[in-house]
Amino acid sequence: MNMMQVMQSVVWAVLLWPCLVSLGVPLECKDEQGSIILCASISKEKLLDRVIQHAELIYRVSEESCTLFEEMFVPFPMRSQRNQAGYTCATKAFPIPGSKSEIQQISDKWLLHSVLILVQSWIEPLVYLQTTLDRYDDAPDTLLKKTKWVSEKLLSLEQGVVVLIRKMLDDDMLTTSYYEQGVAPYALQPEVLESVLRDYTLLSCFKKDAHKMETFLKLLKCRQTDKYSCFLH
């Protein structure tokens, strides 16, 4: 019987060889300058799709984390900040327009740069959030996993956006992970002192920024395909 099993496995391996090869081999990543970032040989459209995928996933996971955290730790009256105008997220170095019309008028370059800045600004706070979440006694595993996953994906997203910028804007001057602001300790509102509310605020702000990233990238994609319809709205 052992021989039979070995034979079967060999046959299966031979049959599935192409699939294995195709799955295992990554896309060609030959960079002209020899740097090893993402696969630079990928086409722009595919790269943009991948970046958008990343952003969507990050956004969805951040929303789930926020909901989880809210259910576990935030007392009911504080939820959804119905009456609160107090907390606010840290403002970025540059204003991001909020209305649709304004956003639609933003240039590609600006969109991409904004995304990059957003991504980079959240790398460290998420790491910080992970450490604080570990201090919670009954933090659910899923929450910890999600935040960990998000911080990992954020790095990938950053790399992708950098490559995208290089490809689309032919801008080679950017390097990865440069921090505009010193956000090592996340800037807190003075009135929010409790750690729970602080973390909740962190998660909510991150969710919002993830939404921003996704929106910008989608807008960018729309422009790639059909410039007229995207602008006219």
């Binding site: 969507e56 956004y59 900040q81 119905r82 105008a85 909020g98 209305s99 807008l219 995207c230």
Partner: protein
């Protein structure tokens, strides 16, 4: 928000919603306060986070169509920025309610449009079918630009049911529904929400799905086909199982009939008469495995025929294992073994150089073993080097069902060598009569009067051999002396032949017993301890012996003259005549009571040669 009195309700904001993330509306309720119902009494004021001034602005557009609604158009709406809206009464300068939100959090998309369904397939039985429901996103949502990313949820139910079945969220604009039943009417609806915000908008219009039943005349055909295929498949499976497990099935269904055999002994050995191997098995190698030998085995064993004097030349000095059967029987070979069995059988040893067939020395182990084995005795080995006695206890023999005239059934008892010449052997038959044709008729003979109690004690001491040996020896001596009397046997008046009557004089025979009784020879000498030790247990155990060849039913309590009821073949001389009472100088001192013994010719004891028959007097 609610006062203590449920009937009185303060004015409050009922909610703010956005349909497409570009505009939003807010509604309020004036409550049950009477003085605030007129329009204008309450205002909606809002404030944006990024406003430079912290003033509350008035609602830009009170809806004319809808009461108590404030509409914020796209010029005033921004996303990702917090709004705060409050219900304020200017006259009273009192704020009844405040609501803060961000635009993207209050998006409730419009329902999808153009919901439609198409039939995918119908099952073969005609009972079930699948459909594909498709729709389009709400026109107000700017999905193409990517401003909104929607997720849809389809629900369906039977026409008269009240419970909606909810399907998984779908990111595309079509969803397949499986498992609907023909003939039933279904309702399908869909609504959407902004992805990751889970605020579903209103439901779309309900569409009705209905597929009439199709009478399938060929419905029986596939059923029979399935049955046929199933039966064929099962049959094939069974065949495979049977063929693969053929051996095991054969064993289970037709278990092999066990052939009669002795444990540890190959039945082929017996058939072919390979005594050597058999003896070997019985002696050393297979001794432990041979437990009980059915007495019936003894009937068909060909070597028993050896008792019939065969034509082989008896050669006393022959060391070859192929000596005559009788000689082998009587122990003219080298082998000897000791067994703590109470049936002693010792065969004279050939190698000692004694010419006479009567050899008091080492008995033939092979023959001993064989005879012992065939008598269904359990040999217990007794480690006495000089003792060549085969003592085989035979506890489990069946009830005697042997015909008294089974002349061939008596076993030859070989002579014991030296001091151990007299060993309890239970394959002796008492010759009660001689048939005219020369056959010897055996009858149940005298049992050696060995008390039952002493045997056990003796047997216990058998292995120890120390402590109280003196006393035991004395007892043994006494008993052996007693037994000797009975033993001597043969004292035949007519040359080795002891009549039944004379035999009866010596003992209390039991002629009525149908079975053959074998007397056990008590050890003739009390000299050697090991012999005694070896013998006595044999004798003692005689009482407990259940062998059919011995009927311990007449315990003799008195001294008896030497037993003449039974005869013991001591040896077979060259003429193939059996020596019943060979005159042994070594034995004579032990066998004190020999008054009736006459100088006997070399004649077999108990067994008659044909020429002696004439001398017999019944």
């Amino acid at each position: 928000m609610t006062s203590s009195d449920p009937s009185v309700q303060a004015p409050h904001l009922t909610g703010c919603k956005s349909r497409e993330q570009e505009t939003f509306r807010c509604w309020w309720s004036p409550g049950s306060f009477q003085n605030l119902t007129e329009p204008g009494a309450l205002q909606i004021q809002y404030w944006k986070k990024n406003d430079l001034t912290k003033e509350w602005k008035e609602c830009p557009d009170y809806s004319s169509s809808v009461k108590n609604e404030c509409f914020f158009n796209k010029n005033n709406t921004v996303i990702w920025i917090k709004y705060c809206v409050r219900l304020h009464s200017e006259s009273q300068n009192k704020t009844y309610d405040t609501l803060c939100f961000e635009l993207q959090d209050i998006v409730h998309p419009d329902p999808p449009v153009a919901l439609n369904w198409t039939l995918l397939n119908i099952s073969r039985s005609g009972l079930n079918y699948d459909i594909m429901a498709s729709w389009e996103p709400p026109p107000s949502a700017d999905v193409s630009v990517g401003w909104l990313t929607l997720v849809y949820e389809v629900q369906y139910r039977r026409r008269n049911s009240s419970h909606w079945k909810v399907l998984e969220h779908e990111f595309g604009t079509q969803q397949s529904i499986y498992g609907l039943q023909t003939g039933e009417a279904y309702e399908v609806r869909v609504h959407c929400a902004m992805r990751a915000f889970n605020h579903f908008g209103e439901f779309s219009d309900v569409i009705f799905v209905h597929v009439p039943e199709i009478p399938n005349k060929e419905s029986t055909f596939p059923v029979t086909l399935v049955l046929i295929f199933g039966a064929v498949g099962v049959a094939i499976l069974l065949m495979l199982i049977i063929f693969s497990q053929q051996q095991r099935l054969m064993v289970i269904l037709l278990p092999p009939v066990p052939a009669p055999k002795i444990k540890g002994i190959d039945p082929a050995l017996l058939k072919n008469g390979k005594l050597d191997e058999l003896n070997f098995i019985l002696s050393g190698a297979g001794m432990g495995a041979l437990h009980s030998y059915p007495p019936d085995l003894y009937q068909d064993v060909p070597w028993v025929e050896f008792i019939e004097l065969d034509a082989d030349e008896p050669e006393p000095g022959e060391k070859d294992n192929q000596s005559s059967d009788s000689q082998r029987l009587l122990g003219h070979n080298n082998h000897h073994t000791n067994h703590g069995c109470f049936h002693g059988l010792s065969i004279p040893d050939d190698d000692s150089g004694r010419a006479s067939s009567y050899d008091p020395e080492l008995p033939d182990q092979e023959t001993l073993m064989l005879m012992a084995a065939l008598l269904s005795c359990q040999p217990n080995k007794v480690d006495t080097p000089s003792l060549d006695v085969l003592e085989v206890p035979c506890p489990g023999l069946q009830a005697p069902d042997l015909p008294p005239e089974g002349g061939e059934r008596h076993l030859v008892q070989t002579q014991l060598g030296g001091p151990q010449s007299w060993v309890n052997m239970d394959f002796y038959a008492q010759v009660s009569d001689v048939t005219p044709t020369g056959g010897v008729v055996l009858s149940p003979g005298q049992q050696v009067g060995a008390p039952e109690n002493t045997p056990t004690t003796k047997k216990d001491k058998k292995g120890k051999m120390e402590g109280g040996e003196e006393e035991s020896e004395e007892e043994e001596e006494r008993r052996t002396n007693k037994l000797k009397f009975q033993l001597l046997v043969v004292a035949p008046e007519a040359g080795g032949y002891t009549t039944e009557s004379s035999g009866r004089q010596m003992s209390t025979p039991d002629p009525s017993s149908p079975g053959e009784v074998y007397h056990t020879f008590p050890p003739p000498s009390a000299e050697s301890k090991p012999h005694q030790e070896a013998y006595l247990p044999a004798t003692t155990l005689l009482g407990d012996y259940q062998s059919p060849y011995i009927l311990p039913d007449s315990p003799p309590a008195q001294f008896l003259p030497p037993v003449s009821d039974y005869t013991v073949v001591q040896d077979v001389d060259f003429q193939h005549s059996l020596l019943l009472n060979p005159p042994s100088p070594q034995r004579s001192p032990t066998c004190s009571p020999q008054p009736p013994s006459k100088p006997l010719p070399v004649m077999p004891i108990g067994y008659l040669t044909p020429d002696l028959l004439g001398n017999l007097s019944p």
